[in-house]
């Protein structure tokens, strides 16, 4: 399935957001997620399905002003 992850097109096998994080080796990294510009809570990732052409954002703490 082809989706966008952090702005890049990629083919993935994962069918849920949780599975995607596992496939992309996020492990226990502290990240937040959004699917098609909507926030998805960490506890909802397991039940959040991915579909063709979805756009996923995976973000982590960073320095800011």
């Amino acid at each position: 399935m082809r989706i966008r992850v952090n702005g890049h097109e990629r083919d993935v096998a994962a069918r849920t957001l949780a599975a995607l994080l596992e496939e992309l080796e996020y492990g226990d990294q502290l990240v937040a997620t959004a699917l098609n510009r909507d926030f998805v809570r960490a506890k909802d990732r397991v039940e959040t399905p991915l579909r063709e052409n979805d756009s996923v954002e995976i973000v982590a703490p960073k320095q800011g002003g």
Binding site: V31, A32, F39, V59, A60, P61, G65
Partner: protein
Amino acid sequence: MDDALTLYDVMLDSRLLLGTARYPSPAILAQAIRAAKTQIVTVSLRREAGGSRGGESFWTLIRESGARVLPNTAGCRTVKEAVTTAQMAREVFGTDWIKLEVIGDEDTLQPDVFGLVEAARILVGDGFCVFPYMTEDLVVAEKLLDAGCRVLMPWAAPIGSGRGINNIFGLRSLRAHFPQTPLVVDAGLGAPSHAAAVMELGYDAVLLNTAVSRAGDPVAMARAFALGVNAGRAAFLAKPMTPRDFARPSTPVIGRAFDEGAA
């Protein structure tokens, strides 16, 4: 805390809020936070790849500093982006506080005040404590308060410009119109004298980043800004004299030697 600052029911000794971006190294950032004696630092969220631990090591450094975090929505250009970013920040950083930025112009990074008000209303409704990055516009301020903001953060000048106060009349007017609202000048300060000037106007606090992080010695500059903020606040409380157009002798005139006209 004789002169504590209260932001969203949190009492603070420090009136200097510090950004965490663009320091030469994490160690210098940590030292600058200590030197500034700041109790609030701003942070953000950015894309991270699987297997990277950069975000986590930064977050550990911030937690060890003991400062409270104020996540931002820096770079967001739409209401939707800002709201989603705020929601992601709340989960990652574990705080309802959000520095709300909705950028409307690329050259000046001027806020899109229409989007700002709309996003503020949505986020307040979702339980956030919103710190809106705004211009010094009185009507925008009124609408942000109507939306439920309890702190306002007008700019002094464009982000990262270091120009100091661009519109002193605007900032003075804003202070006068909203005497009870905590007002924090955010953005555009370049030198401790700018921070002191803002505080002398009666502003409650200042937020800055680049002026410290890009200084030749960020740690020393953090200390200097802390002094500037404290000096400005002390001066405001001491009620500065009113400026005059003409001179008035400070030394008594009566009794001056050689004064032929006096008895």
